[in-house]
Symmetry: C2
Subunit: 198 residues, 2 copies
């Protein structure tokens, strides 16, 4: 994948990222629940090759969706209602890298640790800190974290079709992407759950 | 839909079901986030006609999945590991009714109230109470609530294909079902979220 060194606030694999309490044996059981197998890893790699040249177009769709909904763009704005363009731009670059990470990274403990980090960044512990986003809301509500599974999943299909693969392969890549999105969001909810309930 | 009077523990629309704090204006915004529109309501109705004669076959798949995974059947067993067949059977009848409700009910405040009830039944407040399931775990962990979105979504596709509809209609019914599953699970997570975070 292209170098990640110039992505502001992207700390995947850095020493400063804390160890997640969620371990590889927890992950193995969660993957079973999600029907996530080695075949899905292969289809994610295939999806990565199809999506790589389309990353900016995908982000245009996702950012367009956020921009079109006041209740979503609010989380990138001050509580007084002023949009924060630097915040949007810096997060966009990490969101683009997330597409690459989701399709190409080994889902190991380093990956689990960064999922905890992303969860904390949507939650009160770290939201706004990475980008010095002064005055923005301090948390993305859980209801929208889970709800967003739908647009992030549905909108990828058209992009997966654009790589010349058979419709059977497109369906498999789409199912793998769906599983990966649910897996990521599930892990990101750990900070939101009451103690002992995750 | 067939009479629901004989389904043990099914209290949809009953006076004893509490008012949910989640109201119709909250629902309208959440539906936007999920891309859920009136068209999806129509496709859910269509899906309902296709799924109605297959409800037991669908429950066989879902229950087979649970039975095949010790970490899932644990929630229908005593903490000592003894499966509770009456619990499984009573819940199965309500799960079958849920397919009908999802595809055929108006998503009004009565529906919202019952979603709060279902959330509480997966959570410590009410789990095990409806069926006097003595000795079973007191909560379904949040990670499995969200993870289960995948099997409940993916497995419905084959059943949707069995009604003689065009592949375009099958895709629309499938997308509507997916949105409905995410919507339901989102609402059921309200008891799990830390105060103010839902
Ligand atoms: C399927 C659900 C979601 C996905 C896949 C997703 C993806 C991402 C990713 C990849 C990042 C950057 C992580 C990093 O720093 O490396 C991020 C950050 C962010 N997302 Fe989400 N997100 C989701 C839900 C939401 C929702 C519903 C909102 C509401 C508008 C939202 C708003 C934000 C904001 C404001 C940040 C920056 C947080 C910070 O201050 O660091 N996200 N998201
Ligand atoms: C997509 C996620 C899920 C769906 C759609 C779903 C659906 C349902 C439905 C419709 C009911 C009956 C509600 C009623 O009483 O009217 C129910 C109850 C139940 N479910 Fe789930 N469920 C989900 C996740 C899970 C998971 C992951 C487990 C773990 C095995 C689970 C275990 C149970 C149990 C034990 C009950 C009975 C709760 C009680 O004591 O009342 N569910 N579920």
């Amino acid at each position: 994948m292209p170098s990640t060194a110039s992505i502001p606030g992207y700390t995947y694999g850095n020493a400063e990222v804390a160890e997640s309490p969620f371990r590889l044996d927890d992950l193995a059981i969660l993957k079973q629940t999600l029907l996530f197998t080695e075949a899905d890893v292969q289809y994610l790699r295939m999806a990565g090759t199809v999506l790589e040249p389309q990353v900016e177009a995908i982000l245009d769709v996702w950012y367009g969706f956020v921009a079109a909904h006041p209740h979503l763009v609010a989380y990138f704005s001050t509580t007084q209602g002023a949009v924060l363009p630097d915040y949007l731009a810096r997060v966009r670059a990490r969101f683009a890298q997330w597409i690459r990470d989701t399709t190409q990274r080994e889902y190991d403990q380093t990956w689990l640790n960064y999922q905890m980090e992303i969860g904390l960044r949507h939650h009160t512990e770290k939201k706004n800190h990475t980008d010095a986003a002064a005055g923005a809301p301090t948390i993305i509500p859980l209801r929208y974290m889970v709800g967003f599974i739908v647009p992030i999943t549905l909108t990828i299909k058209e992009f997966l079709k654009a790589g010349g693969h058979s419709s059977a392969e497109v369906e498999q890549m789409y199912a793998a992407w769906f599983k990966a999105v649910v897996l990521h969001v599930t892990l990101w909810l750990q900070p939101y759950a009451q103690p002992g309930e995750f």
